[in-house]
Amino acid sequence: MIVAVARRIALSLLTLVLLAIFVFVATEIMPGDALDVTLSADELAMIPPERLAQMKRELGLDRPAAERLVAFLAGTVQLDFGLTIISRTPAADIIAYPLRNSVLLAGAVLAAAIPLALALGVAAAYRYRRALDNAVSAGAIIGYSVPEFVIATVLVILFAVLWPLFPATITAATRDPAHVLLAAAPLPVATVLIGSIAYLARILRVGMIEALASDFVERLRLTGVPEWRVLLLHALPAGVIPSLTAMALYAASLVSGIVVVELVFAYPGLGQELVRAVTRREVHVIQAIALSSAVVVVGLNLVADLAILLLDPRTRR
């Protein structure tokens, strides 16, 4: 057991190190370096080489790639992602609060999505191939097929403009306390929630169908265990456990959805910073955002894996 847990943790750490290397290689070594990325092709063509060399020296980009990679990794461990190219501000300072705010939004979405998806998934599986199941399945497909920005736009028209129940744009400040941000965010949460429920309900439904069709559920039923006990105490854990990994993977697509709604609702999170950084070609900020969200996703995967280890005796080998 301890060995298995340690192995999982070590693998997660290894994944993160590889990720950091990958992020650095993809953004700084393959295309050249941070400066090549920041400057446009026109500029690179027009600036004389000696001037370019001087600019690179000023930014410390004249060192060999391997040396820069080591420096990058060392910095990353200390949460130092370097300075922005344009304003020379630490990238970590720029993303700290937005990261908290995005995690907050994601937490709110998950807190609402998981129970609802569980209810729908279980109900659909229980009524497998009947009207309820068909409705849930079709609804789920529609739910995750309609883009978030479409849902967000429709929700704004309905609930902020035509029937002004909720704020259309978020005026809370980046460093406001959590409850202020959440109070302003019902529409962004609802937007991501729709896709999340659809997605998670679908995964859970499949898990539950398998669990309900399994021999041990059949045996329980034959021994006269009440149906609700079979469903909630036996089939449910058996159905959820194999779905945990798929659910943790969902964290990655959750981030993508959050980026979109943050832009639509002017929510002060990582999505805003990400688009700002991409349009400004601020490589270090993008690296910091990519790595910090990867830490969250890898962390969630680790939690899911450990939960499976804990709950499912078959995996403890």
């Binding site: 290894l14 994944t15 590889l18 990720l19 990958f22 992020v23 993809a26 953004t27 700084e28 393959m30 295309p31 990325v37 092709a41 399945s137 079709a138 497909i141 529609i142 995750y144 097929s145 309609v146 883009p147 978030e148 920005f149 479409v150 736009t153 429709v154 704004v156 028209i157 403009v161 997605y199 679908r202 995964i203 439904r205 499949v206 798929a246 993977l249 990655a252 697509s253 959750l254 981030v255 993508s256 980026v259 979109v260 832009l263 990400l274 688009v275 950084a277 991409v278 349009t279 070609r281 490589v283 993008i286 690296q287 955002i289 990519a290 969200s293 990867a294 996703v297 890898v298 995967n301």
Partner: protein, 280 residues
């Protein structure tokens, strides 16, 4: 085969999905022939209401909105299909190879897959767009890489099953070389699986490319594109809501149609599509 077709036709949602996809593809292919106006030309005053001259009026630049709407799926659909194909084919090969060779290669591939799955798609695209520029080939390539990871997983799992099959074992015993075994013996046996993957990955690539365009990280103006159109239409969300609703309806019907079709076809073929949606 006839039984399979009948089995699909019995599924009403699948039929609806196939019809939607067919209609979208037909329009996208025929678009240059059927557009009433040049979708780029500044024809008239901006935001003319729908009428006889312009079926859906003009957009915020005075271009014919109907023509742009018809053309608006072409680039995104082509990009999504290309990415989906590359992902299914490339991912299939890599996954099978991992299953065949095992060992270090398998470990490296598995680690890479896990790594990529930990970076949200939009961030992954951001990394590459920043590094290599926001061009169509870069977008297609990046989307293919993103969507490939899930395919590798599926193909690898299936490959491990195939490795236990008699004909694969026989081929190996005959002394066939690795690439030959993978291409000749294994690949044909995962063709149906990869076809489903291709469709699935294409549909999620369609969602991704639209979201990217909406964010300003995907296709660039003046390309007619639904994601861009919705972004621009936000300005007149109250006065000319059709500028948003029409492209929103287009994207949604296309992706919903694709997923209904995939679900139905996979179900009829006895394949489990539900698991594959992990690439969403």
């Amino acid at each position: 085969m006839r039984g399979f077709a009948r089995s699909i036709l019995r599924r009403r949602l699948a039929v609806l999905g196939l019809a939607l996809v067919a209609a979208h593809l037909a329009i996208a292919l025929a678009a240059p022939l059927i557009v009433p106006h040049d979708p780029f030309k500044l024809l008239d005053a901006p935001l003319e209401p729908p009428g006889a001259a312009y079926l859906l009026g003009t957009d915020e630049l005075g271009r014919d909105f109907f023509s742009r709407l018809i053309m608006g799926g072409r680039v995104a659909i082509a990009a999504a299909l290309a990415a989906g194909f590359l992902a299914a084919f490339g991912g299939g090969l890599v996954g099978l190879a991992a299953a065949y060779y095992r060992g270090l290669f398998d470990d490296v591939v598995s680690r890479l897959v896990e790594m990529k799955l930990a970076i949200p798609a939009i961030l992954f695209v951001s990394l590459f767009v920043t590094g290599f520029g926001q061009t169509l080939p870069v977008l297609v390539f990046v989307m293919a890489v993103i969507k490939m990871m899930g395919v590798i997983r599926t193909a690898r799992a299936q490959g491990l099953v195939l490795m236990e099959q008699g004909y694969v074992k026989a081929a190996i015993l005959r002394g066939e070389r690795g690439p030959v075994v993978i291409l000749r013996e294994m690949l044909p046996n995962v063709a149906d699986l990869l076809s489903v993957e291709f469709a699935l990955r294409s549909s999620s690539a369609m969602l991704l490319v639209s979201a990217l365009s909406f964010l300003g990280l995907g296709l660039s103006p003046p390309t007619p594109d639904w994601g861009l159109m919705i972004h621009d239409g936000l300005q007149s969300i109250r006065s000319e809501p059709w500028l948003i609703l029409a492209p929103a309806l287009c994207i949604s019907t296309l992706v919903v149609g694709m997923n209904f079709a995939i679900e139905g076809v996979a179900d009829a073929a006895g394949l489990e599509a539900a698991r594959g949606t992990a690439g969403h």
